[in-house]
Symmetry: C2
């Protein structure tokens, strides 16, 4: 949907025709870099392979999937740390909503599925051990569902949360690797 | 891990050397067809793209990811039903366990991540409108983490649960398509 709109816009631009006024949100924001680390949304991230899933209760109340680019997936499967430069790990989050339809089938209230994307929909960790040496070799970024980056204050909170995981190159616990057995 | 073992075994077989005794479980089971519908585990399923995620409470108590082969992903993105023949949808499930490490970082008990794979780890829906005409065009299969198919009694329960979704070609509710916005 947005992706098709972006493609049409891009084609129109190449053809010298501006189909709409320069957008202030939407596809244009895919080029807007997030603060501090300067990361833009990597193209094709939605097609990356699955590393793991999780559910966060509390204030977050979301369902999340962790995807990785090819460098990331290879590193996880090789079981080798640290992650090589070029690793990108994406975390997608949706709100956590009951599925009435599934509950009817299961015969009880038990099923929770993705709802609307929250403000923290999309996060990335990008490995560049030179560029991001001050933060363990990782750059961080957060975007909402329209591709709009979160503010600088938000981006200051990324590394402190990851720092306790220093021994695992600031990444997810090994248990998530179960997501790869067979 | 198992995949590497399988590859080594395959290479050894080609070379005329049997590295181990013919296994009674593990890689060999990837060729064992599940009952009723006769489905074997499609190769490369773990590398398929993400359709959606979910959490089931109750007896299941699992975290799940739904992956699709290229035909499936295209059909979801085109928004067209019915799914074409050749569509395969995979459902992977892990037990639902708290993450102590994440809880420390978040400062409260809130984080749940994949644990060991349950018996119902791996399920597939395969679209073949001729072969599976009696069950809405879909064949169903369930395997455990070692690739061992579930029994016939289990496989009799698949279609009755999917039947209420007939209007959507027996598949997930539209809300899961949110997993595809941008």
């Amino acid at each position: 949907m947005k992706r098709i709109a972006f493609l049409l816009f891009a084609v129109a631009m190449v053809a010298g025709i501006v189909v709409t006024a320069a957008p202030t949100s939407g596809p244009d924001n895919e080029e807007v870099a997030a603060p501090i680390y300067g990361i833009t949304i990597p193209s094709g991230y939605r097609d990356w392979r699955l590393i793991s899933v999780a559910h966060e209760e509390g204030k977050l109340n979301d369902l999340r999937a962790v995807l990785g680019n090819d460098v990331a997936i290879k590193a996880y499967r090789d079981g080798k740390l640290p992650f090589p430069d070029g690793t990108i790990i994406a975390r997608l989050a949706w709100s956590y909503v009951p599925s009435e339809e599934n509950n009817k089938v299961f015969g009880r209230a038990q099923s929770f599925v993705p709802g609307p994307q929250p403000d923290w929909y999309l996060q990335f960790m990008v490995k560049d051990s030179k560029k991001y040496a001050a933060t363990g070799g990782w750059g961080f970024a957060q975007f909402d569902k329209d591709g709009k980056p979160a503010d600088e204050a938000m981006h200051k909170t990324c590394f402190p949360c990851h720092e306790p995981a220093k021994a695992r190159d600031f990444s997810s616990p090994v248990t998530h690797l179960r997501a790869f057995s067979i």
